[in-house]
């Protein structure tokens, strides 16, 4: 209203938000890179384990790298190699390994409002590098700073990708060469849950988001008995419906009050 123009936080932005808005695309890239670094803790043990398991399954180095570079999706790679070890029919391996990645379509859809305006070329590499980590990091950043421009958003995404995807490859190679995973008592198995929880927590900023997350947790535990991660495909849509439903209810209530 009568706020002087030289205040640090114009039009209701927090100092952090104004700082984010002032970054050049290159600075955004650096920012995304730095913020993605903790994920190396996740990718290193996971990727090394893939190298070990795939070698044990009898795959040669080009094939292992084929999985890691072309598929670039940890859970799906483990599923494929596990089924190869069990001598499943090729079609079963293919269908199961792709099914594990169905969540990627949901990530793709949820990024449309933020990155849909990018050039087709940019959308092509963004799709290739859309992994759990780059998605989770990018979406929390975009929601926290909704006024970033497209170049800033792409820069941040690229930074997050550069700090994660090459390490997935490196970790796989280390697993193949060293032939052993990181000792279990380092408890790095839990780096993945911790980093994901750390990303989700700041997103819980409305009752609708909290309700969606709660349904996701309860749903995934209740439907955990379903085979090969299918529980996720019951729990996640239920959670998203819950979030949208609570949002509609709250809008109606606010509307009634006006």
């Amino acid at each position: 209203m009568s706020a002087p123009a030289d205040l640090a936080a114009p039009s209701g932005l927090t100092p952090e938000q104004s700082r984010a808005l002032r970054r050049s695309p290159t600075q955004c890239l650096r920012h995304g890179f730095v913020q993605a670094l903790p994920f190396i803790l996740v990718l290193l043990p996971f990727g090394m384990l893939f190298g070990v398991v795939a070698t044990d399954a009898g795959l040669d180095l080009p094939q292992i790298l084929g999985f890691t570079v072309l598929v670039l999706a940890g859970a799906s790679q483990f599923t494929a190699v596990q089924l190869l070890t069990d001598h499943a029919p090729a079609l079963v391996v293919i269908v199961s390994a792709i099914a594990v990645n169905l969540r990627m379509a949901m990530y793709s859809a949820s990024l449309v409002p933020w990155l849909g305006g990018a050039r087709p070329r940019d959308r092509a590499w963004i799709a290739y590098t859309l992994i759990d980590q780059s998605y989770a990091l990018a979406i929390q950043h975009y929601e926290k700073h909704p006024r970033l421009n497209l170049a800033q958003r792409i820069g941040y995404f690229l930074g997050a990708v550069l700090a994660t995807c090459p390490f997935w490859l490196l970790a796989t190679l280390l697993g193949v060469w060293l032939g052993k995973a990181i000792p279990e008592d380092w408890a790095l198995d839990f780096a993945m849950p911790i980093t994901f929880l750390a990303l989700i927590a700041p997103m819980l900023r409305s009752p609708a988001h909290v309700a969606a997350a709660l349904v996701a947790v309860v749903g995934s535990l209740v439907f955990a008995f379903l085979p090969s991660g299918l529980g996720l495909f019951v729990a996640a849509p239920l959670a998203m419906l819950t979030g949208a439903g609570v949002e509609v209810l709250m809008e109606r209530r606010n509307g009634a009050r006006l």
């Binding site: 072309l70 190869l84 391996v93 990530y107 859809a109 959308r123 929601e143 819980l204 947790v217």
Partner: protein, 110 residues
Amino acid sequence: MTGYSDATIWLIILTVALGTYGLRWSFLGVFGSRPMPLWAQRLLRYTAVGVLPAIVAPLVVWPAATQGQPDPARMIAAVVAVAVGVATRNVLAAILGGMATLYTALYLMT
């Protein structure tokens, strides 16, 4: 060694790679800057909070490292990570808080 021919394995790798890329590209590639219907936008706002907790919750309650036995150290660490994240809105602080809690709890409990 694997019981599959090299050609079969490469067929599997390439098909899974193409299928996965197709899923990743799907909406981003097709929709582009065309607006999504409002109801879809409303649903998709909850993708991250709907998918990521559903991936993580079973790992927290039944960790693979303990052969699926619930582990108090890991559960406390998960709670601390969420609490720090909600309180500070800072991702790095939440990760550090969670991992520090995990190591402290594991050290005290073993």
